[in-house]
């Protein structure tokens, strides 16, 4: 032991450290890093420079650069456990989707220290706990506020309790024999499940819980948790009816809404972040598998964006990204999700959109992006973007294939001269 120098012991310690450590300057240029940090950065960097923190993370966590730039203090903790969602799809599903937590501390005007830790397993556990929490929460919270109903497999109401009348304003005697979905006027336009779809899932799984807008007798809309449980008599394999529990859930308070925005939005543009995009994708994939709801994806990439950054600087580039996100998000349908997927790459997720509808919307987005004008010191700046679309049907339900197909078509649009939506193969599928 004594023969080994203390320097060698220190190196040995750093080589074996199971957490990524690195030090870089304000521009992200890495001075020192241990092997564990490189283990994560090198695959994320792809063809980009793995020796610079910001360029290595440009695809998966472009927000990190702006979070650090926006940090006002001379020193201190810039972010703590900031989550980087590496995979959008479920991948090969042999392991948990990879999530890396990044903590950055500012040590001086030109000196940053960062840690990178793989927290994939922890995130999977959190998700499981959250599901169980929702479930037990809905069972235990304010048990008196529950309206209970019995319906037949065809959706017709057999019986209801007094709370049903209090919650919805309907007299039970007036609605017996009517279809529950007609009574509640469930808002399915945005992609929520219709009652018959929910019954189908409850029959298969035993129960199903969903949230969405419904209407009271006086026309007022309210946010309702709807639990459907299949009932069967003795040995019947088919359900003889369903118990339905309705709960009036006041919309989330402002503080919770802030937290939600923080967790689901991209720091710079306000578009959805990769994490949220990935969660919605998985939810929609389940609905595709269960109910064959169509789902389309549009990916777009700004043309020659690097030139904008190089010519006008990152602040102008940031304005451009914000304007694109604003303009595009405004054109999306209510259930659509507009997300920032990478540096200058965005994606629109469109539940219940088929290929033609997606291409139509992509054309509208293209026109809107081309109409953006940004004032700079060097004059008016305009820009264009290229687009690729794909549907989950074409991808046979695989998220990875869906993204790969859309990307492929995006690059075909780039090669064909940019500022366009890739169109051909329209009738192939």
């Amino acid at each position: 032991m004594t023969e080994r120098s203390s320097e060698e012991q220190l190196l040995e310690f750093l080589y074996a450290c199971p957490v990524g450590l690195l030090e870089c300057d304000a521009a992200g240029e890495i001075g020192m890093m241990n092997p564990h940090a490189m283990q994560h950065l090198l695959p994320l960097a792809g063809p980009r420079n793995a020796g610079n923190l910001f360029s290595a993370l440009e695809q998966h966590a472009p927000e990190l650069r702006s979070i650090i730039a926006a940090f006002g203090s001379a020193t201190g903790r810039v972010c703590d456990g900031h989550r980087i969602f590496v995979e959008l799809g479920a991948g090969r599903r042999t392991a948990a989707p990879k999530v890396i937590a990044c903590t950055v501390v500012k040590l001086g005007p030109d000196r940053l220290m960062a840690t990178l830790t793989d927290i994939s397993q922890q995130v999977v556990q959190e998700q499981r706990l959250r599901q169980a929490d929702t479930w037990f929460g809905s069972l235990l919270d304010g048990i008196n506020d529950y309206a209970a109903l019995t319906i037949l497999p065809n959706g017709r109401i057999v019986a209801g309790d007094a709370c049903f009348t209090r919650q919805t304003g309907y007299d039970v005697a007036d609605v017996v024999g009517r279809d529950l979905s007609d009574v509640l006027k469930t808002d399915a336009s945005g992609g929520d499940l219709r009652l018959d779809e929910q019954l189908f899932l409850a029959e298969r799984d035993g129960w199903h819980l969903q949230e969405g807008w419904q209407q009271r007798a006086d026309g007022e809309r309210y946010w309702c948790q709807r639990l459907v449980v299949a009932r069967s008599d003795c040995n019947e394999s088919c359900p003889t009816g369903f118990s339905v529990v309705l709960r009036d859930v006041p919309r989330r308070a402002a503080a919770a809404e802030d937290l939600r925005r923080l967790l689901t939005r991209d720091h710079l543009t306000g578009a959805a972040n990769r994490r949220h995009f990935s969660q919605v994708l998985e939810r929609e994939q389940t609905q595709w598998r269960d109910l064959r709801h169509s789902l389309s994806l549009i990916v777009l990439d700004l043309d020659h964006f690097k030139v904008i950054n190089d010519t006008h600087g990152h602040p102008v580039g940031d304005i451009v990204l914000r304007r694109v996100a604003d303009v595009c998000a405004a054109l999306l349908p209510p259930r659509g999700i507009f997300a920032r997927l990478g540096g200058e790459e965005f994606g629109a997720l469109l539940p219940r959109y088929d290929r033609e509808q997606a291409i139509g919307l992509a054309e509208d987005l293209r026109t809107a992006v081309a109409a953006i004008k940004v004032e700079t010191q060097g004059g008016i700046l305009s820009l264009t973007a290229s687009f690729g679309c794909a549907t989950l049907d074409e991808a046979e339900g695989s998220i990875d294939v869906l993204i790969a197909l859309a990307d492929e078509r995006l690059y075909a649009a780039k090669h064909a001269g940019r500022n366009q939506v890739f169109h051909s193969e329209a009738y192939a599928a």
């Binding site: 001075g31 890093m33 490189m38 283990q39 090198l42």
Partner: protein, 121 residues
């Protein structure tokens, strides 16, 4: 003769047949490890580049304790998946905690127990 012992030319079998003394004279790093990744060969050039002494590295699991930067699909996973490899890959290592561009040569063969990674700075 010299040609055959170059970074790209040297064969897995001749590396296996060399003694430690001969491997120490090679101008590139040589790491040999077993199927369980425990290090069996660590030549002088590699010890100099990494700053680690051979005696402290021999026997430890290579991808976990010494070369975590190679513990991903680009290197470690390939040894899991491919029984036969002879590939040169450009890579970045963190020798003495400095990001350093290197070339790696990955060597594995179904009829040889020991696998090798050669490192050229």
């Amino acid at each position: 003769m010299q040609e055959e012992l170059g970074f790209e030319a040297v064969s897995l079998h001749s590396l296996d047949e060399m003694g430690d003394v001969e491997r120490d004279t090679l101008p590139f790093g040589v790491v040999g490890f077993a199927a369980d990744t425990a290090v069996q060969v660590y030549n002088a050039t590699e010890a100099r580049m990494s700053g680690l002494d051979r005696t402290s590295v021999i026997g430890v699991p290579f991808f976990e304790a010494v070369a975590q930067c190679m513990n991903n699909f680009m290197v470690a996973q390939r040894f899991e998946d491919e029984p036969e490899i002879d590939a040169v890959v450009p890579y970045i290592l963190t020798l003495r905690m400095r990001p350093t561009k290197v070339r790696l040569r990955l060597l594995a063969s179904a009829d040889t127990v020991r696998r090798y990674i050669l490192i050229e700075r």
